[in-house]
């Protein structure tokens, strides 16, 4: 009982099934040559700085809010301090925040430093705004030029409020400094009234004085030794304020010298190293026993266009700041006395000086194998 049957369907069924499954599972691909990369368009024109909006945090690779100043207790005891919040954001994950506090007790010559770190920055919805760095807090606003911070670390507590006593100072005329690797927005409140409390080694002081505030942000890279800078923020006795920066490039050579001067009347003038005849010379050195870095320690500063001839001397040599940042970022940040003359008339003042790029970086081990 074998009926005629044209051809078993098996072969075709198996073939169809095979083709269907193979078609759905193919993992093949076509190779593609990657074209050479083209440099991005030149950095867009800077956006004019608007205060108070630009007092707040920006969506930028690097940003810092920076206070340094000179305080006195009711009994006349003198202190120097600097407080900074760094924000680094590589666009992946939360931004990293590092805050540092340095305090100089002029009477004892002791320099103290502390730091805190945290990942993440809470959304800032207008002023006043608050930035929390672990158990420290930093406040911005409500008005432009108003800030506050509150820190606590062991036996040390410090809480200061700042209010601007001068107009803001936009550097390089519009507050925009191009550099070798990126560019930064940069403005200052060169004179802020500082008031608050300082508890040092269990002793409590009500303090007040004058502070300098810097705010920088942008997509730029800071390089360590041999690159670096010397930065000077002078609050002069005639109520004038002066910022001078001398920056070194990747090769360690001086790349730029520039500054900004605010007259006692609040008129801001940008200074160019060459045009304005800025002459900065190191007249002393100090070597850190901790890091082995040798820093300039004492300067002569001449500014031809302002007819200024000044000498700057640190109050204490050891005002090196090491905590919270990698070794290559260790810097010197110190209270400095200013004396000299302007147009032949004596001139004194207080300054804070920052020296960056003097510590040998940690070697990258694999480079030397």
């Amino acid at each position: 009982m074998n009926p005629r049957f044209s051809r078993p369907a098996l072969t075709s069924a198996v073939l169809v099934l095979t083709v269907l499954v193979m078609a759905s599972c193919t993992g093949s691909f076509t190779l593609r040559q990657v074209p050479m990369g083209v440099s991005p368009d030149p950095t867009a024109a800077p956006i004019p700085i608007t205060l108070s909006r630009d007092e707040l945090a920006h969506d930028s690779r690097l940003e810092w809010w920076y206070h340094s100043g000179h305080l006195e207790s009711e009994s006349g005891r003198e202190f120097g301090f600097h407080f900074v919040v760094f924000k680094a954001d590589d666009g992946v994950g939360e931004p990293n925040l590092v805050a540092q506090l340095g305090v100089l007790d002029v009477q004892t010559g002791e320099h103290f430093e502390w730091s805190r770190a945290q990942a993440g920055l809470a959304d800032q919805q207008g002023m006043p705004a608050s930035i929390q760095i672990a158990d420290w807090s930093y406040g911005i606003g409500p008005d432009p030029g108003m800030h506050l911070f509150s820190t606590k670390s062991g036996d040390v507590e410090m809480a200061l409020t700042f209010s601007a006593e001068s107009p803001p100072m936009l550097h390089n005329e519009i507050g925009w400094i191009p550099a070798e690797l990126g560019a930064t927005y940069y403005y200052s409140w060169p004179r802020q009234r500082a008031e608050g409390q300082l508890t040092l080694n269990g002793e409590k002081f009500a303090v007040n004085g004058q502070a300098w505030f810097d705010h920088q942000w942008g997509d730029f890279f800071v390089l360590g030794k041999p690159a670096g800078w010397q930065w000077f923020a002078l609050q002069l006795g005639d109520s004038g304020s002066l910022m001078i920066t001398e920056s070194r490039g990747i090769d360690g050579e001086i790349a730029d010298t520039y500054g900004t001067y605010m007259s006692p009347e609040g008129v801001v003038t940008s200074l160019d190293g060459e045009t304005d005849g800025i002459r900065l010379a190191v007249i002393g050195e100090w070597t850190s026993a901790t890091t082995g870095a040798t820093y300039p320690s004492g300067w002569s500063l001449e500014i031809g266009s302002l007819k200024m001839d000044l000498i700057l001397n640190p109050v204490v040599d050891d005002q090196e700041v090491k905590g919270g940042l990698p070794a290559v970022s260790t810097y010197w940040e110190g209270k400095t006395r200013v004396r000299g003359s302007r147009g032949g008339k004596p001139l004194t003042g207080d300054a804070y000086v920052e020296l960056s790029g003097y510590v040998d970086p940690e070697p990258i081990e694999w480079l030397y194998r």
């Binding site: 190779l31 990657v34 440099s39 970086p361």
Partner: protein, 759 residues
């Protein structure tokens, strides 16, 4: 030959039983230790591009791809609280002295390791060793880490693999403890007598023990995966009991027909034995196909399953006739249930009903089968992560914290190694210091201008690919920098102060190699991530530095697994179908019956795939079955289930068709033969399938979700097969096909060797 073997077993029944007793007793201690030499994992292969890329990452970029994660927390202290920080430092201080540890990164090194929602920080210890060694090393270091006042959870690759092994063994014990009693109860129901019910369990169990002992010995010489153990045991129990059940029931039937004990044993041996032999052959065809996949886990299942099925077959064809010859009529003693042989049951009316209206049966049941299979079209192959483990295990708890509070495993990170210049052959990078690196001149210097420019081009291209959310590398630091700026930046790489950039330079570059970490919001194990991997692999680096890209990571590995599996799967399917078809053609001397059997088997498998997608991919019944929806079907599952189900389903088809064929040989009446075959095999097939369903379903209680999925997939396939396919669709088709069922062209009839009962 079957008759000769049967005759020998009868003649030397006591010797055969004694020999088996000795073999089983000897096998027992080895079977209990079958897992000792089995290895964790086994989804990967040395020849995978991702595995080669991993070696490049390890050897040339010193990147550790295996790590132990310590999750520290405290109810009150924040991670930056000095008390918390110093407790963490104290806890992990000694770790770096171990050669097996490449680095230890704490939240003090990387603030991103602090949870934004709780007082939790995690520390990673990168390992320099392979997974197999890491599980033992894990015990060493966890005993050294004293969390002090902090709470500590240990997770990461070694911990997860350790827990998978533990959970798999627990699952196995739980599965066996449920399966054996229920299987015995089902056998009691089928046979109605105590001895007949115990017999298949004893013989099937004996076969499994011998098979597992074989696994123990084989695993000392062949790399075998721990994952094979559950599946092999499940198959062994199910198939071993099935074979013994068919043999025993046939023996009882022959006794009832008035034959003497020895004649009944011989008759069972020649008739049921032939069906068992061909069933085993078809099962082995499917399972041997697994050996041809370059995936250790599948190969292990293939090897292990062949061992247990072979043992089950030997036991059924030698021990069983000997035992039945010894027991004789006593096999029907101690009745505790109904005697089905004296009742018509449901099979006679059912077969009559199907024979009367075959189209009415065929169309709706086929529609139901197709409906079951439809979700399979939505199948998304992928891999699975630690969510396959129960959340009672420490490693899973740690994984959950990392996933929920740190975003681990939710995003895809694809490590892409860019190698160039024949690393090690060029000038060493850096020289005295890095000052003149960017001047170029060294083929393998990663900071040489030409290499930076090529890398920059690759970095930009990677950023442009669909699905890429970010790329991390030394040339993807900032979108405003061009190649010239990067060359400038790396004039002195040590002078970079930016913490992230410095870490990237320190960790992701070496002589002759630059690492790109390609991140995507796609889940690492989803199909879209595989497309991304394929896209990256298609890129040819620019320049003349001999550059190559090597893609690793979870997405890279699963891409390789899927490509390997599904590159061969169509061929394996074709071969298995063809060989099975030919075997059945040989057995039934028909062209149509084997074709029908093969097509219906494929339908059963597709229905099982559909159920898997519906349940495990889409998450239906996840509450009842206690698992977390995977979103994908683990890539090895369809292959594994195909191999297992194909053989198992074919068992029932063969048992049914062999009874139909016997009746047809005797009567020449197709419809009557189909009805008789269905009636005579119905109860036994249902019982056998019921046992297999119970055994498979017992693995639904497993903690490891993949084991659960295999159990459910198998149970559903067998259920569909034995209800819809065997009881309704197959008889309906045979009724409709009529005499075509038995058609064999003359030339083929002459070509095919005769397989009679004596051959």
């Amino acid at each position: 030959m079957l008759t000769a073997v049967g005759a020998f077993a009868i003649r030397r029944k006591y010797a055969v039983v004694a020999t088996w007793a000795v073999v089983i007793l000897a096998a027992l201690p080895f079977a209990q230790r079958a897992q000792i030499f089995l290895k964790p994992g086994g989804f990967s292969n040395e020849s995978f591009p991702s595995v080669k890329a991993r070696k490049i990452l390890q050897e040339r970029l010193e990147i550790s791809t295996l790590s132990v994660d310590f999750v520290f927390s405290h109810p009150e202290w924040s991670p930056f609280d000095p008390r918390f920080s110093s407790a963490v430092e104290n806890a992990v201080r000694g770790l770096e002295r171990h050669d097996e540890i490449a680095y230890v990164t704490t939240h003090l090194d990387d603030p991103q390791r602090v949870s934004p929602v709780s007082n939790t920080a995690h520390v990673t210890a990168g390992l320099t060793i392979e997974l197999e060694e890491s599980v033992e090393f894990l015990e060493t270091i966890t005993s050294e880490v004293d969390a002090g006042p902090l709470d500590l959870i240990v997770t990461g690759g070694p911990a997860l693999y350790r827990d998978i092994s533990i959970a798999s063994q627990d699952d196995l014990r739980r599965g066996e403890s449920v399966a054996f009693p229920i299987a015995t109860f089902t056998l009691l129901l089928v046979f109605g007598t105590l001895i007949a019910a115990i017999l298949p369990t004893a013989v099937g169990g004996g076969g499994v023990l011998v098979g597992l002992a074989a696994v123990f010995f084989m695993s000392q010489g062949i790399d075998m995966s721990i994952f094979a153990l559950n599946i092999v045991t499940l198959l062994g129990i199910g198939i071993g009991i099935d074979y013994s059940l068919f043999f025993t029931s046939r023996f009882q039937e022959e006794l009832r027909g008035g034959k003497s004990v020895n004649d009944a044993v011989l008759s069972a041996q020649t008739r049921a034995g032939k069906a068992i032999l061909f069933s085993a052959v078809t099962s082995l065809i499917g399972l041997i196909s697994l050996v041809f996949f370059d995936i250790m886990m599948l190969r292990s299942v293939g090897i292990g399953a062949v061992a247990v099925i072979f043992a089950a077959l030997l036991a059924a064809l030698t021990l069983m006739p000997a035992l039945l010859a010894v027991l004789g009529d006593r096999v029907n003693r101690f009745r505790v249930g109904p005697d089905w042989s004296k009742r018509n049951g449901l099979w006679v009316p059912l077969s009559n009903w199907v024979m009367k209206r075959p189209w009415l049966v065929l169309l709706p049941t086929t529609a139901v089968l197709v409906l079951f299979a439809v979700p399979a079209l939505q199948m998304r192959l992928g891999s699975v992560d630690a969510t396959i483990l129960p959340d009672s295990l420490e490693s899973r708890q740690g994984f959950d914290v990392l996933r929920e509070e740190f975003g681990f495993a939710l995003r895809t990170v694809i490590p892409v190694a860019y190698t160039f210049g024949g690393a090690g052959s060029g000038e060493p990078a850096g020289g005295e210091r890095g000052s003149d690196m960017a001047a170029g001149g060294s083929d393998s210097n990663p900071f040489a201008r030409a290499n930076i420019e090529s890398a920059y081009a690759i970095g930009r291209e990677l950023e442009k690919l669909d699905g890429v959310s970010s790329v991390t590398s030394i040339v993807n630091l900032d979108p405003t920098l061009g190649p010239a700026q990067y060359v400038l930046l790396y004039t002195n790489p040590e002078s970079i102060t930016d913490v992230t950039a410095a870490r990237i330079v320190s960790d992701t570059v070496r002589d002759g190699a630059i690492l790109f970490l390609v991140e995507s919001d796609l889940h690492p194990f989803w199909p879209e991530s595989r497309e991304l991997v394929t896209e990256i692999r298609s890129l040819i680096p620019p320049g003349t530095n001999g550059g190559e890209l090597h893609v690793d990571g979870g997405a890279g590995e699963i891409t390789d697994i899927v490509n390997t599996l599904y590159g061969k799967f169509p061929i394996v399917i074709a071969v298995v179908l063809a060989v099975t078809y030919l075997s059945l053609m040989l057995l039934f001397r028909s062209v149509i019956l084997p074709l029908k059997a093969v097509v219906l088997n494929v339908l059963s498998i597709l229905a099982s795939y559909g159920a898997l997608v519906f349940v495990f991919q889409e998450g239906h019944f996840s509450g009842v079955l206690n698992f977390e929806a995977l979103g994908v079907i683990e890539a090895t599952l369809p292959v594994l289930l195909f191999a297992i189900i194909f053989g198992l389903s074919m068992d029932y088809e063969i048992f049914l068709l062999s009874r139909v064929a016997e009746a047809y040989e005797r009567t020449g009446d197709n419809a009557a033969s189909v009805a008789e075959g269905l009636q005579k095999s119905g109860m036994i097939i249902t019982g056998a399938a019921g046992i297999l369903i119970v055994v498979a379903a017992s693995f639904v209680l497993a903690d490891v979700v993949v084991v659960k999925a295999i159990g459910l997939g198998l149970a559903i396939a067998v259920f569909v097969d034995v209800t819809l396919v065997r009881a309704l669709v197959a008889p309906a088709i045979m009724r409709i096909a009529g005499p075509w069922n038995w058609w064999l062209p003359g030339w083929l009839d002459r070509l095919l060797p005769e397989v009679n009962h004596e051959s």
